[in-house]
Point group: C2
Chain length 274, copies 2
């Protein structure tokens, strides 16, 4: 996404890593992606995936990524170690750890594969929504930095009004999403987009309660060619919570191409305080 | 589940581990849980979770578990290493590796937590199905061993007739599930039950094509008390595939208590051959 004459896109600047030998890479949280505490989880996921993709032993394309957030990152350099623990003929398994100030701050596992043509079918269908250019851009939620890195067009379930404190019956959000400024879609940016759906407790309760993702898993359905075909046009995100109980809830998400193909499916478990 | 006067339940026999020091445990695939190649993935997931639960540094109960299957296990002893990479006040992150014959055969990450009362809501509703005792027991799929370890009552989407070779429009299965013989539900058995839903390609295509789970993620919603309240009665499982493309597909599952509470939600990515 970078050319020699221009500053890198803010996404590429944030996931940039410097090789440090032996499958290790150095990076640093980028202030443009700050969340309330630490960076946006999606950018951390993309950065850890980027370590795998940049590793010389890499085989193929991402099929699955799980990122576990062990503590909020602070604004100092970190190191990521990516290990290919098993490489088969067409599938490769990775274990990744992000260490900051001598402690593990995040872990990840990734499955990569050489994808080949097979029988194919789309079983889950994209919800019927107006195209992106018929949905107005939603003003950015201003308290934090990272939402400014996306152009969001909420068709349903927009940013909550956290002063309302009124419980809603469901947490569904349907939103057209693209990087701001526009950037052609690839696996790291898709991994980040899967975390754009803010905690569903905010949506359900229209109230601020401390919350943070503890783990997110994303399955990639599109190969590099299909992602490239999507280019920088908006993708459709759909997310909703399942059950909220005893300090944790989970939310599912799907991300669709503008031609109605499922690009990624995701689920995350989120801690909340009260 | 074991008392001193009886042989252990086949589930407990299969997930049994012998401590080997430094967070390491020894185990061996149990022939009662054999799949077409290697053991049933659900029993491997339960065994890796059991290593975390048996570890002296364990804090709290499972919230999330991701298991990555790097190669089929063979019928020889294996070693599992479980590392608590970060322990907070109430949340603990684990990285687990299963090594057999000197190679990593499976990896896992787990999030455990001390769960506390909070605001709670059930957003996803259980589908309306007849109670377990009104759904006949489905005869076991006979080619492999592990299905005999469950009593399954398919309300929809039963075992495929793999000779039909006729494509179906969806892959939905709805099935009451309990261990056979009955065994009170706990987190390891729930982790295994989340993998009971055979590859959705078999269901969609009514045809056998080589397939195997590469990764499964399960989020646990019920705490130990809620699992204990379910006891050994059947739980309702619901599963369906989302998209099948380029050698991989994913399937989602929910497991419900017989009182209609979501006990666990799960997603897995499955490799298939053609």
């Amino acid at each position: 996404m970078t050319d020699s004459h221009a500053a890198p896109h803010p996404f590429d600047a944030a996931i940039a890593l410097e090789p440090a030998g032996d499958g290790r890479f150095r990076g640093e949280p980028h202030p443009a992606w700050a969340n309330m505490v630490g960076p946006f989880g999606g950018i951390t996921a993309a950065t850890m995936l980027n370590a795998v993709l940049a590793h010389p032993a890499r085989l193929g394309e991402p099929v699955a990524l799980t990122v576990n957030y062990a503590s909020a990152l602070v604004a100092t350099p970190f190191e990521i170690e990516a290990r290919a623990v098993r490489t088969g003929r067409s599938v490769q398994h990775w274990v990744v750890e992000l260490v900051q100030d001598g402690e593990v701050a995040a872990t990840a596992t990734a499955v990569l594969a050489l994808r080949r043509p097979t029988w194919a079918a789309d079983e889950l269908g994209m919800p019927a929504v107006p195209p992106a250019d018929e949905v107005p851009v939603t003003p950015t939620f201003s308290k934090v930095e990272w939402p400014k890195r996306y152009e969001l067009r909420f068709q349903a379930g927009p940013w909550p009004d956290l002063r309302l404190d009124a419980e809603l019956p469901d947490s569904l959000s349907t939103v057209w999403i693209r990087d701001e400024p526009p950037r052609p879609l690839d696996a790291p940016s898709l991994a980040a987009i899967c975390d754009v759906f803010y905690p569903r407790t905010f949506r359900r309760r229209q109230r601020f309660v401390p919350a943070g993702t503890v783990t997110i898993t994303t399955h990639f359905h599109a190969d590099a060619a299909e992602l490239a075909a999507q280019g920088a046009r908006p993708v459709l995100g759909v997310a909703r919570g399942l059950r909220y109980a005893s300090g944790f809830f989970d939310q599912r998400a799907e991300v669709w191409s503008d031609s109605g193909r499922l690009l990624a499916s995701s689920m995350q478990s989120v801690w909340f305080k009260e």
